[in-house]
Symmetry: C2
Subunit: 292 residues, 2 copies
């Protein structure tokens, strides 16, 4: 297992972590500058932030700053209530693929979606098995364009508390079932993003990480689970402030040969987004060394 205590060369910042600074929106160009100024080597930006800053301008700034990407957030959201919705989701995913290529991302992260309409509070139906089938079909359809673009797809299992509205793939086992069905050759075109926040509770975690193996482990995300957790979406903790044994899980991932970035992804309305982004980034660096 790599020693993170002496430097932060393997730290990546998911840009949502400093999406807000002192309660105000922080534009992506400023986030990238703040990261580069701290010797942070990689980021994982969100599509809405890239769109606001401009795709080509962002690609240029990344190059100028020498920043790598650890992923691109995000494609997915496959299920829909009708054929037009499925087609719209596919086309949006094709655009996400192109953006990921332009930005030089190593993978496109897939948050696969849940019951159609549920995110807006009006689920079209209650058939989660049907939604899962649409996810399977949607990934199958996206895989060929992704291969052609040379852009690996990283399915991110989300915590079961998001099964209804954000992602109906909720365990690593489920994600790997899709990988095995669609890419049995383990070509590297399809894999998983392991975010400790989503999977730390899973009694099968170690075994499923081993099942994934090096070819399927495309990204590793960290933050922490707070007790109490005050909000289902936006109360993630800084590494070390919660109950997740992050080094243990990183050890399992690295035992498979994973040697990429450890990406910090924190959504925190009531705490970290209220602080100054510089303080948040400095804390990420410190905790990457001490708690990851």
């Amino acid at each position: 297992m790599r020693d993170f205590s002496a430097d932060h060369r393997w730290l990546s910042i998911n840009t949502a972590t400093v999406r807000r600074s002192q309660g105000q929106d922080l534009p992506l160009p400023r986030i990238l500058d703040l990261c580069a100024a701290r010797g942070i080597g990689a980021v994982s930006p969100w599509r809405d932030q890239v769109q606001a800053a401009g795709l080509q301008a962002t690609a240029r700034q990344l190059r100028e700053l020498g920043l790598s990407l650890s992923g691109y957030c995000r494609g997915g959201m496959f299920p829909a209530a009708d054929a037009a919705g499925l087609q719209a989701a596919h086309e949006d995913n094709l655009r996400a693929l192109e953006e990921a290529v332009t930005l030089g991302a190593p993978c496109l992260v897939l948050v696969v979606g849940g019951l159609p309409g549920a995110l807006a509070g009006r689920a079209a139906h209650k058939d989660i098995a049907g939604a899962r089938a649409q996810v399977h079909e949607g990934i199958a359809r996206l895989l060929e364009p992704a291969r052609a673009a040379g852009m690996p797809l990283a399915i991110e299992p989300l915590h079961p508390m998001y099964a209804a509205d954000r992602a109906c793939i909720n365990t690593l086992a489920q994600a790997l079932d899709v990988c095995d069905a669609l890419d049995p050759a383990r070509s590297g075109a399809l894999g998983v993003a392991v975010d400790v926040y989503h999977v730390w509770w899973d009694p099968q975690l170690q075994a499923q990480i081993a099942r994934a193996g090096r070819e399927r482990l495309l990204a590793f995300h960290v933050c922490d689970w707070l007790t109490p957790t005050r909000d289902l979406l936006n109360d993630r903790g800084m590494m070390g402030d919660g109950v997740i044994d992050i080094p243990r899980i990183r050890g399992w991932v690295e035992a498979q040969g994973y040697a990429g970035y450890s990406e910090v992804e924190i959504f925190s309305t009531q705490d970290w987004w209220l602080r100054d982004a510089a303080e948040v980034l400095d804390t990420c660096i410190a905790r990457h060394r001490s708690a990851v």
Copy 2:
């Protein structure tokens, strides 16, 4: 599958559902009267409510009203930071067993506990595998007294969002692994409580219900998953108001031969606990017929 549309003979009310009425605490004796007045045949009371009302007085009132129990809430909370804590938990569980016997409960529901101290926001450690081992040992130790008392133990897998602080058994598969290890003969002394709120998301749900079989299916709890869910603990929905396909899950349970009560358990700070308990109970009856 039984037809619930014509009557509510198989409806049970978990008394937490009307723990508060119009924002005020509602004493258990009043809850029991309100249930009996509506022809509700069973309840599942909580220990704190029973303690406040008196154990013998509650047993007497239940008899006088002709109310059955669908379970007793709850034993468990096995993990502890030291031997004294483990022993205290065991002794408390022995008292819960006795109370369950006195009240004529068909089973003692076990919410097994998480990381010691996490419920108070100060987890003693991050070793969830260790906590799970303590749960296994705790249930093993409780099983003999439970057999002697003729009181089945029903392990309730809780949603993974409670893994840290309330229960580190988070899937039916995990609960059944414990059952298989400790009661391989399927004697009926050890089984599971299936609460749709906790397990609806699980892609293995149908298969694990079949694995449980009639001998292990000791209780069936219903409410609904709301989108959005505004609080991790106390924002459960009334059946029919959320995204859970309850009849489908009940069908799977009944296909195994389960023919017991369907117990409504709703914690709802912002909605149902603010309403009048009579309205809540009437709604439970209506939704039991239409949405369960």
